[in-house]
């Protein structure tokens, strides 16, 4: 009997030890990331319930909104928790994960993902960088293509070879880097202008009726989630140098109307004060100048929600504001 108890306890300890080892190996071999979305490690360092406003979506969220500017204008702390080509389904799981440590009263969701194909090229990064949780497992099964599923469930599947970086003279500095607070709170600073891109023939969307219908269902789940968490949800379309066909926005407006508040900021480019040649990074994204203008433009909207401001991490936010000024230089 004693041996059986000992066996059982040993099995439990062994299982926990293996799980712990898997998590640690995953962390140790995941490439260091400090921009272009999926900044979960930095996000999880934020003081609990210190974020008032959150932005979700694809790169059109993390390139176009600057939390430091919002903080300066409104004294509301903000964070962008987005990923490259993050689909609406993946966004849902992002929100669930984000709400575990923060309780924002206002949530913005950039809606370009409504028109993405069911799976994009970045599932590996978008889900692979999420912290291990049942939520991530659910994302791996329901929001990731089958060939990426194993990597989404088990990060070492994609990255275990990166243990070599700890012995590589050129790469070990990056390998040993420790995560600290993101000074840009999820924003990715872009300097170039659209001149480097405007003649490129690229499409943002791969519209499919079935996928769009699925996305609408997911959007309803997102709305329910925000309601449950007591967060006001604002859906928006970010201003683009080359926006989608107007019919997409019309269709979206029509479908969203009964569900949530929606703004198409493409119509407001003049009011925002965007210089088409100077304020865009490429035909879709704003550069830092455009992002500053856009962030300032939405501050009255944020203020209109009269959300309670946090008094947490004030020093950090001061540093963030100073850092942005330094970057703009």
């Amino acid at each position: 009997m004693k041996r059986k108890v000992l066996e059982f306890l040993s099995a439990v300890i062994f299982s926990l030890a293996v799980l712990y080892a898997v998590v640690q190996i995953s962390e140790a071999t995941l490439p260091y990331r400090d921009g272009y979305g999926c900044l979960w490690r930095q996000y999880l360092l934020e003081e609990k319930d210190s974020i008032n406003v959150m932005f979700f979506g694809s790169s059109l969220a993390y390139c176009n909104v600057i939390p430091s500017v919002i903080y300066e204008e409104t004294e509301c702390t903000a964070y962008v928790m987005a990923g490259p080509q993050l689909t609406i389904k993946q966004t849902y799981y992002y929100m669930k994960e984000a709400f575990k440590t923060q309780s924002p009263k206002l949530v913005f969701l950039e809606t370009a993902g409504m028109f993405f194909s069911e799976f994009t090229d970045y599932s590996r990064i978008n889900i692979g960088y999420m912290p291990y949780s049942l939520n991530r497992a659910a994302a791996a099964f329901f929001a990731v293509e089958s060939e990426e599923r194993l990597g989404a469930l088990f990060t070492p599947y994609n990255y275990h070879e990166l243990w070599l970086d700890y012995f590589d003279e050129d790469k070990k500095e990056e390998a040993y880097r420790i995560y600290t607070y993101d000074k840009l709170a999820g924003y990715t600073f872009l300097r170039a202008t659209v001149a480097q891109d405007k003649n490129r023939d690229r499409s943002l969307t791969d519209y499919n009726e079935e996928t769009y219908a699925e996305n609408l269902k997911t959007l309803k789940k997102i709305i329910e989630l925000c309601n449950k968490k007591g967060a006001n949800l604002v859906l928006y379309s970010t201003p683009m140098y080359k926006p989608l066909d107007i019919s997409y926005y019309e269709m979206l407006k029509e479908d969203i109307k009964p569900l949530a508040v929606y703004y198409d900021f493409n119509a407001d480019k003049e009011d925002i004060g965007l210089d088409m040649e100077e304020d865009f990074y490429d035909i879709f994204h704003l550069n830092y100048k455009g992002a500053i203008k856009f962030s300032r433009y939405i501050t009255p909207l944020i203020k209109s929600y009269k959300i309670e401001k946090t008094n947490k991490s004030l020093q950090l936010w001061k540093e963030r504001t100073e850092y942005l000024e330094k970057r703009i230089g």
Partner: protein, 487 residues
């Protein structure tokens, strides 16, 4: 469904759970269905072929036992002809056709014709299950085992999934009786089986597939791009690759079967610690070498005849053994070379016997013998690995050139496609493999470890973490098939 695939590790627990939940009278049928499902995951059509082999051997054995039509030998011969014909057609037809065509072209170039070729995929495991089935019918003929009346039990004996695709080639006397009693789930079997599976996966993912990088790089490179040292290193790497790969499969097979309560035979017994080629073949692919010994070598006369006949028997058996491995003259030469080694070994035996009293039990002698055996076996494996005899000859001429040997240096190893860090991992892993082999000579290592709580979990933890970090797997890799699947 490879043993190193996720699907197998979803399949196995499901089978184990269902097997032990089911009432005993349904268990064999369930295992049979699971085994056929396992086999059909490769290609469903080839299950028909396996079924045909099972059916013919089952019926022939029954007829033999009943002396149907007053003849026993007839059914044995018929069975051999049918099954070997199927094996010949799928495995050796194209090879034979090409060989005949080459020979006629040599003799009469003007009247030669192109070889007739059938575009058929070699059914995976056909060499293994065919030999297993033939072994059973020969055992029935010899009255070494009683005929199996239950078709389900017999079919399960041939198709039992852990050993179906790459052995061990089980003997009816060992495996058939195990399908009769009711197996209870035993925690100690689970632990021992689990350790065997983990050890097998470790050998496959950390050693074999990583060594394959060196081997594949070397053998696919242009001849002039690889130095003699490079070929020597690749040859040694291949020796350990094939050993790790094949013994890994056997360990996973044994571990999977043990969890279900079945004991499969050991297929390897520290072969690279053998002090002679003769001893090597008692320790390497034991199930195949004992099959050939019992069903070919002894019927030919074995060593109970005059020396020339004895040597001829050795040559025949090893040449056919080489041919069993693959339809290529390189395999035939590999087998032949091993046969020649044994003949020379026997010839030199008298000399060694005279020297024995002076060196008997001497550790240096034993070490030198082991090293010499390893060198001989490794050289022979070059023929096993290459695509053509010409390649083998060219490599041999390079490595036996003294001028080339002088160029050996550490940098030769680092230029064969693998990072230095992985070379260290491999060095450590091969030392570990050797240590386990040494220990296994004295005790059943897996059994012993599984009985000790601390060592059991420490060993499992070490193996799992090593595989996660150093294993050859992931989105950037093509999963390597087990080498013996091609046979």
């Amino acid at each position: 469904m490879n043993f190193n695939s996720i699907n197998f590790y979803l399949f196995l627990p499901a089978v184990v759970i269902i097997y032990f939940i089911l009432r005993p009278k349904y268990r064999n049928i369930f295992l049979l269905a699971a085994s056929f499902y396992f086999y059909m995951c490769w290609k469903a059509e080839y299950a028909v072929l396996m079924f045909l082999s099972i059916l013919t051997t089952y019926i022939c054995a029954i007829f033999m036992d009943n002396v149907f039509l007053g003849k026993r030998k007839l059914w044995l011969v018929l069975n051999l002809v049918i099954n070997l014909s199927i094996l010949f057609f799928f495995k050796y037809f194209n090879f034979t056709s090409a060989l005949i065509s080459d020979i006629t072209r040599l003799i009469n170039p003007e009247h030669s014709t192109d070889a007739a070729v059938f575009n058929v995929l070699l059914p995976v495991g056909i060499s293994f299950y065919t030999f297993q089935a033939l072994g059973y019918t020969i055992d029935v003929y010899r009255k070494d085992v009683p005929v199996e009346k239950s078709f389900v039990t017999y079919a399960l004996f041939v198709s039992f999934f852990p050993q179906l695709v790459a052995g061990p080639i089980e003997r009816s006397a060992n495996l058939l009786p195990q399908f009769k009693p009711i197996h209870k789930f035993k925690v100690k079997n689970f632990h021992e089986g689990f350790i065997l599976i983990l050890w097998g996966l470790f050998k496959k993912l950390v050693i074999a597939d990583r060594l394959a990088v060196i081997v594949n790089y070397t053998y696919s490179a242009a001849f002039n791009d690889i130095t003699a040292a490079g070929y020597i290193i690749a040859a040694i790497a291949f020796s350990y690759q094939i050993y790790s790969d094949f013994s890994a499969y056997s360990d996973i097979a044994r571990g999977s079967a043990l969890i279900l309560g079945f004991k499969l035979m050991r297929n390897f017994n520290a072969p690279y610690l053998a002090a002679s080629v003769k001893e090597f073949w008692r320790k390497w692919h034991i199930s195949l070498s004992t099959w050939f010994k019992d069903y070919l070598y002894f019927p030919l006369g074995g060593n109970r005849c005059k020396k020339p006949k004895y040597y001829l028997n050795l040559i025949i058996v090893f040449t056919i053994s080489g041919l069993w491995h693959g339809a290529n003259l390189t395999f035939v030469l590999w087998g032949l070379l091993n046969g020649i080694y044994q003949v020379i070994g026997d010839v030199l035996h008298a000399i060694r016997k005279k020297l024995a009293p002076r060196f008997k039990g001497n550790i240096i002698t034993r070490t030198v013998s082991r090293l010499a055996t390893f060198i001989l076996v490794t050289y022979a494996f070059i023929f096993f690995r290459v695509e053509t005899i010409k390649d083998a000859i060219m490599i041999s001429s390079k490595i036996f050139n003294i001028e080339n040997i002088r160029t050996i240096s550490f940098s030769c190893i680092t230029e064969l496609g693998l990072q230095v860090e992985y070379l260290w991992v491999l060095a450590f892993a091969i030392v570990l493999l050797t240590l386990v082999d040494i220990i296994s000579g004295y005790i059943n290592a897996a059994k012993k470890i599984s009985r000790t709580i601390f060592f059991k979990y420490a060993a499992c933890f070490f193996l799992i973490v090593s595989m996660i970090i150093f294993g050859y797997y992931g989105s950037a890799y093509d999963p390597q098939e087990f080498i013996y699947f091609q046979f």
